[in-house]
């Protein structure tokens, strides 16, 4: 279903939980609401579901204002963070609940439950009670229960938060496949950027009750619209005096400008590893190296600026204290009024090499 939100505000006491949020979502999309804890993501989701009242603003489903509709009449499915399964009912009864409430016939309920049990891979567990299931199974029951009455919008509140890392990965791709197959518009809340990037068609970054940016994961990574988004997506280091770095001296024309540099913007190595780009590098010193399972995390010091980057395990191993060449490909610059991406000037226009 098509979802539109206009000028949404919500206050809890004196705390402004949601502040002037506007967005619209096309049918069949999977949207990730991403942001730090306490940022207002769950409040937005709960307002969409009708579990929380709206202070001001409009929520429209299919162009119809639904602000005053109770949750029962909104045609949504909601998957709760801790699943909220009916703990005294079996798996089958949990899934059937929404259908019984809607007065489906016994035979239709039986068919639909069997279909969902099959779909969620819960065959053989129909007679179990929730406390006899593992976390991943409970999650799938919650998902099946929410989907049973054929909602047009599926809302998921931190769906994977309570599941251990390994199964979480499996469930993520399972959920992605499932939603693709059903073509149901879905919105999920998460504080885990990997989860949002991996699963969502579009991400909405929510911070302090405001919508910071909405776009595909790649757009958000490539072109962050605010310092918060730039800092939140990916790992990064904030550099105060960016003009001291080689290739970024023109940054000093904007006073008070800081830079945000991601590990993947930086390349390090011995002089021989750079070839033609050598003129854009400068000297630095390795401070620490950390083994990260699939790569090295290297902390490097350039002048008095500390930077962080990755280095492939295939390359020659660096040691703390070693002198290396550092190439900074680009930096995300921001000040109080503006933010933009600046490429390393020397890399784009290499100085002629003197023989």
């Amino acid at each position: 279903m098509h979802v539109e939100v206009r000028g949404l505000h919500k206050k809890f006491g004196s705390f402004q939980a949601v502040h002037d949020v506007n967005f619209s979502i096309d049918k069949g999309q999977l949207i990730g609401l991403l942001g730090p804890s306490g940022g207002g993501k769950t409040s937005i989701l709960r307002m969409l579901a009708g579990l929380e009242t709206v202070d001001s603003g409009d929520i429209l489903f299919h162009g119809q204002r639904v602000n005053d509709l109770p949750p029962q009449e909104r045609g949504i499915g909601f998957v709760f963070q801790n699943y909220a399964l009916f703990k005294h009912m079996t798996v089958a009864d949990n899934i059937a609940f929404g259908l019984e409430v809607k007065k489906w016939s016994k035979a239709k309920i039986k068919d639909r439950v069997a279909e969902l049990v099959e779909l969620t891979g819960l065959s053989g567990f129909e007679r179990r009670l929730p406390h006899q299931l593992s976390g991943g199974q409970r999650q799938r029951v919650a998902f099946a229960r929410a989907l049973a009455p054929e909602p047009q919008l599926l809302l998921l509140d931190e769906p994977f938060a309570a599941i251990d890392a390994k199964i979480r990965h499996e469930l993520r791709s399972w959920l992605r496949d499932m939603i693709d197959r059903l073509g149901i518009t879905s919105i999920f809340v998460t504080h885990d950027q990997d989860e949002a990037i991996e699963v969502a068609d579009e991400i909405m970054i929510i911070n302090k009750g405001r919508l910071e940016q909405k776009g595909s994961p790649w757009e958000i990574y490539k072109d962050p619209q605010s310092p918060f988004v730039a800092g939140f997506i990916g790992e990064s280091t904030i550099v105060d005096n960016v003009s001291s770095l080689r290739g970024f001296d023109t940054a000093s024309t904007w006073p008070g400008t800081k830079a945000l540099i991601r590990p993947e913007y930086i390349e390090i190595g011995q002089a021989s590893e750079f070839a033609t780009k050598l003129s854009a590098t400068e000297r630095g010193r390795v401070r620490h190296i950390h083994f990260r399972g699939s790569e090295w995390l290297v902390e490097v010091e350039v002048g008095d600026t500390k930077l962080v980057t990755y280095r492939s395990l295939e390359k020659q191993v660096l040691h703390p204290g070693e002198e290396v060449q550092v190439l900074i490909h680009r930096a995300y610059l921001f000040n109080d009024n503006d933010s933009w991406i600046m490429e390393n000037k020397l890399k784009e226009d290499p100085l002629p090499v003197h023989i």
Binding site: P70, P71, Q72, H88, V101, A148, P149
Partner: protein, 265 residues
């Protein structure tokens, strides 16, 4: 040292619980079967036991319904302010803090025949004080916190997410209560009901003040025992007391069973 403590505990337990019960049983039987059956089969005993039973049934029904409702409102209602909820929550405990005799006296002072409300109702033919309604109100007052205090912690513990889930699945408030909330709280309600029945059966002070203790009219089992003792009719007093005690023991056994069920869920 440990033996001393164990010994002390046994002595206190025996003095306070076992000996009185044995004494009541012996007292009831000290004139043999005829003494016991004589005490039980008097018309005033029948009437008093009937009054006690009637009060227990009415009070338990009213307190169960309103106790569960008040618990729901105090835990779930968003339309009640936090401050107001706290105030109501402490008022619930008032009957625990106030002596039952004082509670009964308050009812007499509020609704007695000499008061405006009492006189008005009296003219309409409804007697409150020195009649069944006053006795029911007095017992309601004394037993009111029991169910609320049993049910509220359970409601708080289960949280409202299951109820919210039911709402998003399309269930009305009524359906949600019976299919989702009730199965979670029912054993606490049963436990609260047992406590209410026990308390209502044994209530003396508040009922004595509002009933006037009129034989064959407003006399309950406990006030009958009191009157028999006053009249030195000890065999009859013991017989009625033994019936009451037997009821309590049966109730306690039921309560133990309910408690074990409560822990399972």
């Amino acid at each position: 040292m440990r033996r001393l403590w164990i010994g002390c505990t046994v002595v206190v337990f025996t003095l306070l619980l076992i000996i009185p019960v044995v004494r009541i049983a012996m007292g009831a039987w000290n004139e043999g079967w005829s003494g016991f059956s004589g005490g039980i089969t008097r018309p005033e005993t029948g009437h008093a036991l009937f009054m006690t039973g009637l009060i227990v049934v009415i009070v338990t029904l009213i307190n169960t319904v309103f106790g569960v409702m008040l618990s729901l409102y105090l835990v779930r209602a968003t339309w009640l302010g936090r401050k107001l909820k706290q105030l109501l929550n402490s008022i619930v405990d008032l009957p625990f803090a106030v002596s039952p005799v004082i509670g009964g006296l308050m009812i007499v002072l509020l609704l007695g025949p000499d008061t405006a409300i009492g006189a008005l109702l009296g003219r309409a033919g409804v007697d409150i004080v020195y009649a069944l309604p006053g006795m029911v109100i007095a017992t309601l007052f004394v037993t009111f916190p029991l169910i609320v205090r049993e049910v509220m912690p359970v409601l708080q513990e289960i949280g409202n997410s299951q109820e919210e889930a039911a709402a998003t699945l399309g269930a009305s408030a009524w359906t949600t209560f019976w299919r989702v909330t009730w199965p979670s709280i029912r054993w606490s309600v049963v436990y609260g009901v047992v406590l209410t029945v026990a308390r209502a059966m044994g209530e003396f002070g508040a009922v004595l003040v509002v009933s006037g203790n009129i034989i064959n009219k407003t006399q309950t089992a406990t006030t009958l025992v009191y009157q028999d003792v006053e009249n030195f009719n000890l065999t009859a007093a013991n017989a009625v007391a033994l019936v009451l005690a037997a009821g309590s023991v049966a109730l306690l056994l039921f309560m133990e069973w309910a408690k074990s069920r409560k822990e399972v869920h």
